[in-house]
């Protein structure tokens, strides 16, 4: 049995070069406990309250101040190492955020908040693409899977819960999800070590791809799902993918091409679209 621990990872500082990412890490049943214990061990080593979550973004928690910068950096680094040494896989789907989100700008600054209807569409589309990929991965590994998402936000929870009910067990008509056990289970990442590990991994991917962000991708490159040949170029289209495909918008195509090329450079593999 394989578990997809999934979440969305939106841009922190909105700008026209941002992108939306959905997906997560695929963990086999025998690795769940060691990863969770490894996570707890990191907290113990660093003297962090065992109940306190560690995520990519350094926030305060239950009245406590955010972590010191060095401590937070050290914790994230250890989590990435823990993950990199596991047998887990990464499956993420990205898209230029103005494909998903109906936002407008004044210069580089965001003018309006995310449009809720567009946000629902974003999550629905992103979940579909991720589930479709996970199902394909499970076919290849001849396994069954279960999806543990982070809880959906208040704005989209009802819509996404209904959507999850509608697409199971037979997909949405364009694809099937025969390898994934119903239902998608939402878990608040505050209470899940595996979701926090996922949060750090997604955060590292996102920050690597941001302009002049720190590149962590070589550390976790081997964890991206690729084909059985082991060829790194096959990560694109499997463990790392960008949507939409075959659109007729030259501006969107240019953004997608740049994102693919950025990813290629960061993992030092020549990927052609």
């Amino acid at each position: 049995m394989k578990f997809l621990v999934a979440d969305e990872c939106n841009v922190v500082k909105e700008d026209k070069f941002g992108f939306f990412m959905y997906g997560g890490i695929v963990i086999s049943d025998d690795e769940m406990r060691p990863l969770s214990q490894g996570f707890q061990e990191i907290k113990r080593e660093l003297g962090i309250n065992k109940k306190r979550p560690i995520k990519w973004t350094n926030n305060g928690w239950q009245g406590e101040e955010p972590f010191g910068t060095d401590l937070h950096k050290k914790a994230k680094d250890k989590i990435l190492t823990l993950f990199a040494e596991s047998g887990s896989k990464i499956i993420v789907s990205l898209s230029p955020q103005d494909f998903y989100h109906n936002v407008s700008f004044i210069g580089l600054k965001i003018k309006s908040k995310i449009n809720i209807e567009a946000y629902k569409r974003s999550q629905e589309y992103a979940l579909n693409t991720t589930l479709k990929k996970f199902n394909r991965y499970l076919r290849e590994t001849d396994d069954m899977g279960l999806v543990l998402t982070d809880t959906f936000s208040d704005d989209t929870r009802l819509h996404m819960t209904n959507h999850c009910a509608e697409i199971f067990p037979n997909g949405n008509g364009r694809f099937t999800l025969e390898k994934i056990a119903y239902p998608v289970i939402p878990i608040n990442n505050e209470y899940s070590h595996l979701h926090q590990i996922n949060d750090v991994v997604l955060g590292a991917i996102q920050y690597s791809l941001r302009e002049l962000g720190y590149n962590s991708l070589p550390r976790i490159k081997e964890r991206f799902w690729k084909d059985v040949s082991g060829n790194d170029a096959t990560i694109y289209g499997r463990g790392f993918d960008i949507y939409p495909k075959n659109n007729n918008d030259p501006a969107l195509e240019e953004k997608i091409e740049k994102l693919v090329q950025k990813f290629s450079r960061l993992i030092a593999v020549n990927i052609e679209i």
Binding site: R210, E211, L212
Partner: protein, 104 residues
């Protein structure tokens, strides 16, 4: 004014190119150093080339040298300047973090 332009380095961990430029007054009494970097995205947009050659990078650096040279003596007000070329505000912030790290 004497100008010494350092080599252009590629920093894989930030997907960027950076260099040092040293300015010295004619009588060698005053010095200043500009440390500059440009994101790959910025250079791709600016120069219209995805796979940057040595000449492309030198073109960018020469423009940076000219910009700072035009400040003439006022450049010596500070010992060190950081000059980041990026497409986004976040890129500029990240570039400053990077440049400060390499000078520590």
């Amino acid at each position: 004014m004497k100008i010494q332009v350092g080599n252009i380095h590629e920093e894989f961990s930030r997907d960027t190119y950076w260099a040092r430029i040293r300015f010295e007054s004619d009588d060698s009494s005053k010095q200043s150093t500009v440390i500059t970097c440009a994101s790959h995205e910025y250079l791709w947009d600016k120069l219209g080339v995805r796979d940057l050659s040595k000449e492309d990078l030198e073109k960018w650096l020469n423009a940076v040298v000219e910009k700072w040279k035009a400040k003439e003596d006022s450049i010596f007000k500070e010992m060190v300047y950081f000059d980041v070329y990026a497409n986004t505000e976040e890129g500029i912030e990240n570039g400053l973090i990077f440049l400060k790290t390499i000078t520590q």
